[in-house]
């Protein structure tokens, strides 16, 4: 019950806000606009999917939200802090403390075991997180206890992605940014990964922004945004998405 109240409280504030966000890449002397003014608000506890064809600006949007790049114009607020107004070191700090990434290609460090990959994220994060969840516990929750010491190349794609999700959320970030998390997975593993993300959102109130061009994957989110040519065209609430956490 207490967890339900906590999650409900957390839903009150806006974790991500963008205002007229623009991004232009320069290729030689040619300017290629990737984002043409994106306005977006994601409230705490939301699970938002961003859909659209290749080249529509989805990944650029995700990189800007994660502070991996600086926007050409416009503003990005993460938990109230405008990323354009802070130094590179401060942006790194925000990424470390408030953001978790999941990538299409898993991006686990190949030289480290599953446990060490998760542990590394905790160590980089530092000791700020009081309710520390150990890498071992996290892998246990994901049903990967027996894969603790396996290197990424010894894991299937689905298992790697589950470890990557565990690594992304082990520090309880304010927002989880997922870039085509099922893009390299078969149907069964895709289903499993999407189920995991739904569980994270429903049980723990994890705010998620997921990019996908797979409509089935996107349909698992609570809210869908459709992007075209660097703009958000449609915003659709998934009426079938249950936001209440399941009883644990």
């Amino acid at each position: 019950m207490n967890r339900t109240i906590e999650i409900a409280k957390k839903r009150d504030h806006e974790v991500v806000v963008t205002r007229d966000l623009q991004m232009v890449y320069r290729v030689g002397k040619v300017e290629v606009p990737a984002l043409r003014g994106v306005d977006l608000t994601v409230r705490s506890g939301e699970f938002v999917a961003v859909m659209g064809p290749s080249g529509c600006g989805k990944s650029t949007l995700l990189h800007l939200l994660g502070g991996l790049q600086k926007a050409t114009a416009g503003e990005v607020f993460i938990d109230g802090v405008e990323l354009g107004g802070v130094s590179d070191a401060e942006r790194t700090e925000i990424r470390r403390k408030k953001i978790g990434f999941v990538f299409q290609r898993y991006n686990l460090l190949p030289s480290l075991s599953a446990e060490a990959n998760i542990d590394l994220a905790r160590r980089i994060h530092g000791n700020g997180y009081m309710e520390e969840t150990s890498a071992r516990e996290m892998l246990g929750l994901l049903g990967l206890e027996d894969k603790l010491h396996h290197k990424p190349y010894e894991l299937s794609g689905g298992e790697q992605q589950r470890v990557a999700i565990a690594r992304a959320v082990v520090n309880r970030p304010a927002i989880l940014l997922a870039d085509e998390p099922t893009g390299n997975l078969d149907t069964e593993n895709s289903r499993m990964v999407l189920q995991m993300m739904q569980d994270l959102n429903r049980r723990y109130g994890q705010t998620i922004v997921m990019i996908s061009h797979d409509s089935e994957a996107a349909a698992t989110a609570g809210r869908l945004l459709e992007m075209r040519d660097g703009r958000i065209l449609n915003r659709v609430d998934n009426l079938f998405y249950a936001v209440e956490p399941k009883r644990v």
Binding site: R96, L109, I124
Partner: protein, 363 residues
């Protein structure tokens, strides 16, 4: 971070091992150069000191390395030295460098030499008596497989080995002064005089009197020999500096190359670390720690190789002295790690500057 450093190194064992071996070569180069140089210097100084006496008298421009000195002093100077208050005994020595065997022979006056020297111990045989006899030390006997009674060809002359003395005193071969003077074409001449002060007198005072009495001669206190030799040996420090420079250069370039290629290969991994929130300082530290570890292991391997090389030198050339002072061992480690760290600095800074998005997209 240390686990990541270790796993990165073990992930690419060939490169790690090659880098370590290269660093160890630098350490080996430093320590063997130092070992041979210091060994020779220490050995020469010690053996010269063990000739006995408190002072050496030479011509003013003579070298402390007798091989580079000629017989230019009249033996009669011994009488002048003996008259100085506080002097107990004086012995003249003629030094001859045998170029084909690359060592020196001392011609000594048996009577006065024994007055000044108290370290010469015959292992077997007896002292030389005539002009065709020599005595040799144990190392010379071993390395030339000679025993008492054997013949030895030196200076185009055949000598009989009449005794073998314990190594550590003077040179490897001792013979009669007059015989060597004749062979050298320098009758009544000596290269150096060894002077013993009377027991109980103040050596400094005697030294003062000697320098006053013989202002145009080089007078050296044998107790300070090693220090003076190191300071006056031509290009001693320049040679060691060159060796250190080369060694540091090797570490620098090898680590620079290894880390640069590692960083290029691991661009994507650096992107991952950045996406996890790793700061620039964290990435710089990661690269530097890897290089420090490689260099430290390389230095350790260098110590082992040096130890093996010294054993090999002593086994193959027993008469070659090798000595590595402890402060040089520490310095070699510092040089290897310092050179490697400097070499890793550019790749580390380059890695820290990488654009995370480009790094994550690196194939």
């Amino acid at each position: 971070m240390f686990r990541l450093v270790l796993s990165n190194l073990s992930q690419r064992p060939t490169r790690t091992i090659v880098s370590m071996v290269a660093v160890s070569m630098g350490v080996l180069l430093i320590l063997i150069s130092v070992g041979l140089t210091y060994g020779q210097l220490t050995d020469t100084a010690q053996r010269t000191r063990r000739i006995g006496g408190d002072f050496m008298v030479q011509p003013s421009d003579a070298s402390l390395f007798f091989a580079f000195s000629a017989g230019t002093l009249p033996v009669g100077i011994a009488e002048v030295i003996e008259q100085v208050d506080g002097v107990e005994s004086v012995t003249p020595i003629l030094v001859k460098f045998i170029s084909e065997r690359f060592h020196v022979v001392f011609g000594v006056d048996k009577t006065t030499f024994q007055q000044v020297n108290d370290t010469l111990r015959l292992v077997n045989g007896r002292l030389f008596e005539g002009p065709d006899e020599v005595i040799i030390d144990t190392i010379y006997a071993k390395s030339h497989q000679l025993e008492t009674g054997d013949k030895l060809e030196l200076l185009g002359h055949e000598f009989t080995v009449t005794g073998v003395f314990e190594q550590g005193t003077a040179v490897r071969v001792l013979m009669d002064l007059e015989a060597l003077q004749v062979m050298n074409g320098t009758p009544e001449k000596a290269t150096v005089f060894f002077v013993r002060a009377k027991p109980g007198v103040d050596v400094e005072e005697v030294y003062g009197r000697l320098t006053d009495r013989m202002p145009h001669y080089k007078i050296t206190k044998t107790a300070e020999l090693q220090e003076i030799m190191a300071g006056t040996t031509p290009v001693f420090y320049e040679f060691l500096s060159a060796m250190v420079f080369i060694s540091v250069g090797i570490s620098f370039l090898i680590i620079l190359l290894a880390m640069y290629s590692t960083i290029t290969e691991r661009t994507r991994e650096i992107g991952i670390l950045k996406s996890l929130g790793a700061s620039r300082a964290y990435i710089v530290q990661l690269v530097l720690k890897e290089s420090v570890l490689i260099c430290s292991l390389g230095a350790g391997l260098g110590y082992l190789l040096t130890f093996g090389a010294i054993e090999l030198i002593l086994f193959t050339f027993p008469s070659v002295p090798v000595e590595v002072p402890n402060h040089w061992k520490a310095l070699a480690l510092l040089m290897a790690v310092g050179g490697g760290t400097l070499g890793a600095l550019y790749p580390a800074l380059k890695a820290a500057q990488l654009d995370p998005v480009k790094a994550l997209g690196y194939e």
